[in-house]
């Protein structure tokens, strides 16, 4: 049971933003611009960073839902998502993406963990300032979302099928759920 009186039967962050739409609308606006807005990183890559950070934060709801969205976006290459979540180093992604995920992993620990060497490595693989910026901000944002979702103990479905549906919906965009 959630720590506060959120609507029953609604999972994860949806229950929290329905409890407090005043803050929820900005949280969904942020997810939309970060994950669906303009970026040199593809939507699939951005969802992958979100799932990767959520896994490292041990947030099952965010990890499962963003992994599901990433699988939809990677389409025929959906296996990449699970490979990255199992072992990023051996997954079939570019060296640049590995360097960016390495930075996202450092951000997950703490901002000051990101070293000039981590940044240099990513720049050597072709990462631009904007890609570095977006990677760090997505990782930082999921350090917020993960804590929000688990800190208030919102409900976390265990059935993988529930996340498949969520993933499909998330690909369409992040829209504040309406009060029922």
């Amino acid at each position: 049971m959630a720590h506060i009186n959120v609507p029953e039967g609604v999972p994860g962050i949806r229950s929290l933003v329905m409890f407090r739409p005043e803050t929820g609308k900005y949280l969904y606006d942020l997810a939309e611009v970060l994950l669906r807005g303009e970026s040199p990183l593809s939507q699939a890559e951005r969802e992958l960073i979100a799932a990767y950070v959520s896994k490292r934060n041990d947030c099952f709801f965010c990890m499962s839902s963003h992994a599901a969205a990433a699988r939809c976006l990677y389409n025929d290459d959906e296996k990449i998502v699970d490979d990255v979540l199992n072992d990023m180093e051996t997954a079939g992604i570019s060296s640049k993406m590995k360097a960016l995920l390495n930075i996202a992993g450092k951000v997950q620990i703490l901002g000051k963990e990101v070293s000039s060497e981590d940044i240099e490595l990513a720049k050597d693989e072709g990462a631009t300032d904007k890609e570095l910026h977006d990677t760090v901000l997505i990782a930082a944002a999921f350090c917020m979302f993960n804590r929000y979702v688990d800190g208030l103990a919102s409900s976390t479905p265990t059935d993988p099928e529930a996340y498949k549906e969520m993933g499909k919906r998330m690909v369409q965009g992040y829209n504040l759920p309406v009060q029922q």
């Binding site: 720590h3 506060i4 009186n5 929290l16 409890f19 407090r20 005043e22 803050t23 900005y26 949280l27 606006d29 942020l30 611009v33 970060l34 807005g37 303009e38 934060n57 041990d58 947030c59 930075i103 450092k106 951000v107 703490l110 901002g111 000051k112 990101v114 000039s116 940044i119 300032d129 570095l132 910026h133 760090v136 901000l137 990782a139 930082a140 944002a141 350090c143 917020m144 979302f145 993960n146 804590r147 929000y148 979702v149 688990d150 800190g151 208030l152 103990a153």
Partner: protein, 186 residues
């Protein structure tokens, strides 16, 4: 030097928010509502939550800025200092101690907040909305602290910068200045 090219006259978070205005907009609006919007928690209390979390995340820029804002709002410098040293002995209400404890736990990990911590806050009089806002402010500063330090932003050269910043945060708030920040160029 920051890890990416930012305006040199804008240390800390401001350079980042100006670098990416599209993402800055919802972050600014969320912060404005949480820290300055209608709430049964005072603005000082909400700045103390931001301060405790930034301090725990070892983010010098955010800790100094929000300490300065809390000091300015409170009209004294003892409370913010004591809260950073030890929540349980700080000169704040039992309810605030319970909420600041929840914020400090949220900073570690969402999963660290247990039903017992929540119960303690409720017994001390905290409402569901106060608990919600505490967890979300703490989570939001886990974003800010990582954003600011993860991109290696610069600290202000002159400590007086924080006083100017605190004045802006108290008297203007967290929304973008209508005419931007060019006036801060030397």
């Amino acid at each position: 030097m920051p890890h990416i090219s930012l305006e040199s006259h804008l240390p800390g978070i401001t350079g980042l928010l100006e670098y990416s205005k599209e993402t800055a907009q919802p972050i600014r609006e969320l912060t404005q509502f949480l820290l300055r919007g209608p709430s049964s928690l005072t603005e000082t209390e909400r700045e103390l939550i931001a301060t405790v979390v930034s301090h725990g995340n070892e983010c010098v820029f955010c800790t100094t800025a929000h300490t300065a804002a809390a000091d300015l709002l409170a009209g004294e410098t003892q409370t913010a200092q004591k809260v950073k040293e030890n929540i349980s002995t700080a000169p704040v209400s039992e309810k605030m101690k319970a909420l600041l404890t929840i914020a400090a736990l949220t900073r570690q990990s969402g999963k660290s907040v247990t039903a017992e911590h929540i119960e303690e806050a409720k017994v001390a009089g905290a409402t569901d909305v106060e608990i919600h806002d505490t967890v979300l402010i703490a989570s939001l500063f886990c974003l800010y602290n990582r954003y600011v330090d993860g991109l290696g932003t610069a600290l202000p050269e002159n400590p007086a910068y924080y006083l100017t910043l605190a004045d802006r945060l108290v008297n203007h708030g967290y929304t973008r200045l209508p005419n931007g920040y060019d006036h801060l160029k030397k």
